[in-house]
Amino acid sequence: MPAPRWRWGPGMTTTVLVPGVLRGEVDGASRLTMEASGTLGAVFDELADRWPRLERRIRDEQGQLRRYVNVYVDGEDCRLVGGLTAPVRDGAEITVLPSVAGGQ
């Protein structure tokens, strides 16, 4: 994987878009602004510190992405760009969505 063309620094933020079904875990917020470093895993680590009830819906206790949760980094399916090691640029939007699979 090529090195990212950007660097992380103070004041840089990432936005996590919360699906409606999970907004109850974050006091109704639809967008969360994070200050995490440059991988998806790091963003979720910060999420675990600040909003643990949301993070544990997205990752299991071993830190693995739940099977039927889809996460997009700037519109790219994270599973196609490194999963939790996917690079996250300054100003990125991370979209969390339930898969269309997984229901009963």
């Binding site: 299991d60 206790e61 071993q62």
Partner: protein
């Protein structure tokens, strides 16, 4: 008398409440909609009973929720209330079973989980830690998965001895501890495993459910994959009590909560024909510890009946005249307010019923 009936389904928890000695019921729910509620508990050791629900979203994973106001509101801690330790490299799939500890330990609650593990809570079921003795058992890597999943689905703490407990799983069998969970011994002698080359292995039996007799804490009843058994020696040995039943296959087995020797069963035709024997909806009751069985069907559907009853979808309450309850995979729930003699419909058209618990509240 107020009775609460908790009905865990594939798509949420329903609560039925009766204020008239179980003649009529008011249904609410689904609570925790779109979650599978395999395990539900009513801990009556508190002034206001605490409800415990193992709720599993197929998207967002499992959790444990508790209610101290009989289901009006529910609480979950911010961090996972029950999680596998990092070194196990496993993650919780779901909680199958809640079991309040001995009366002398009013804040102890046990939880049986998938993957096969036992957890212990010392705060009344809000948060849990793994019981390492069972997880570290050398047999664990050989335990298999029944069709329902690799789970500790039965947890039976001794009513007065906190050091003593029995657990059961499909497949793996019955295990027991006498030192508070530090060490565990397989307890399957006499239970047949017809599907294995060795028909009577030390462990590996597909045990569907185990119940403890009310009169003798060393007496147990077990419904297994083609077999119904009783143990009179704390699980050391088992003898068949299936002769008086129309089939030895089924999932639930329920002991009367106060009368020794009284046990209930819901037989299915066979593992290859998982509907009631002769397509008749019947509960069977024994009042002599399994020597003889009587069919109970007054008030139950008389026509052809095909749904099955899962292992935790039959239960008893703790009223003076005990109530019995069962739910079906077709979403019907039946109740008896006279210890099984007669039955009436509590609810219908629910999602598939996975678990049922009831108590006077």
């Amino acid at each position: 008398m107020s009775v609460l009936l908790a009905i865990g389904t594939g798509k949420g928890l329903f609560l039925a409440r009766s204020e008239d000695d179980r003649k009529s019921w008011e249904l609410s729910g689904p609570h925790h909609p779109m979650t599978g509620v395999y395990g539900v508990g009513i801990d009556t050791r508190r002034a206001t009973p605490r409800l415990l629900a193992g709720v599993t979203s197929s998207h967002f994973g499992p959790s444990v929720a508790v209610s101290d106001d009989l289901g009006v509101s529910w609480q979950e801690p911010d961090h996972a209330p029950l999680a596998f330790p990092e070194d196990t490299e496993k993650a919780l799939v779901r909680v199958w079973q809640f079991a309040p500890g001995a009366a002398s330990e009013p804040d102890v609650v046990y939880a049986g989980t998938e993957p096969q593990a036992l957890f212990r809570s010392t705060d009344g079921g809000a948060t849990y830690e793994m019981v390492r003795g069972l997880w570290d058992h050398p047999h664990r890597e050989h335990w298999g998965a029944g069709f329902g999943g690799p789970a500790i689905h039965t947890v039976l703490p001794h009513p007065t001895d906190p050091q003593s407990m029995v657990v059961a799983m499909s497949t793996g069998g019955v295990y027991r501890t006498s030192d508070g969970g530090a060490t565990w011994a397989p307890s399957n002698t006499g239970i047949k495993a017809y599907y294995m080359p060795d028909k009577y292995p030390e462990y590996g039996q597909c045990v569907h459910k185990v119940a403890r007799d009310a009169g003798n804490p060393d007496r147990f009843y077990a419904q297994v994959h083609h077999g119904v058994y009783r143990s009179d020696d704390g699980g050391s040995t088992w003898q068949s009590i299936a002769d008086g039943l129309p089939s030895d296959f089924g999932f639930p087995i329920v002991a009367h909560p106060r009368r020794g020797d009284v046990v209930y069963n819901f037989p299915l035709a066979a593992d290859s024909r998982r509907h009631p024997v002769d397509e008749r909806c019947r509960v069977f009751r024994s009042e002599d510890a399994g020597k003889t069985w009587q069919p109970l069907s007054d008030g139950l559907p008389s026509g052809p009946f095909y749904p099955s009853v899962l292992r935790d979808a039959m239960s008893a309450d703790n009223a003076d005249t005990v109530g019995l309850y069962f739910g079906t995979r077709s979403g019907e729930v039946y109740a008896s307010r006279d210890e099984g003699d007669s039955w009436s419909l509590v609810a219908s058209h629910l999602p598939d019923v996975l678990s049922v618990r009831a108590a006077v509240v």
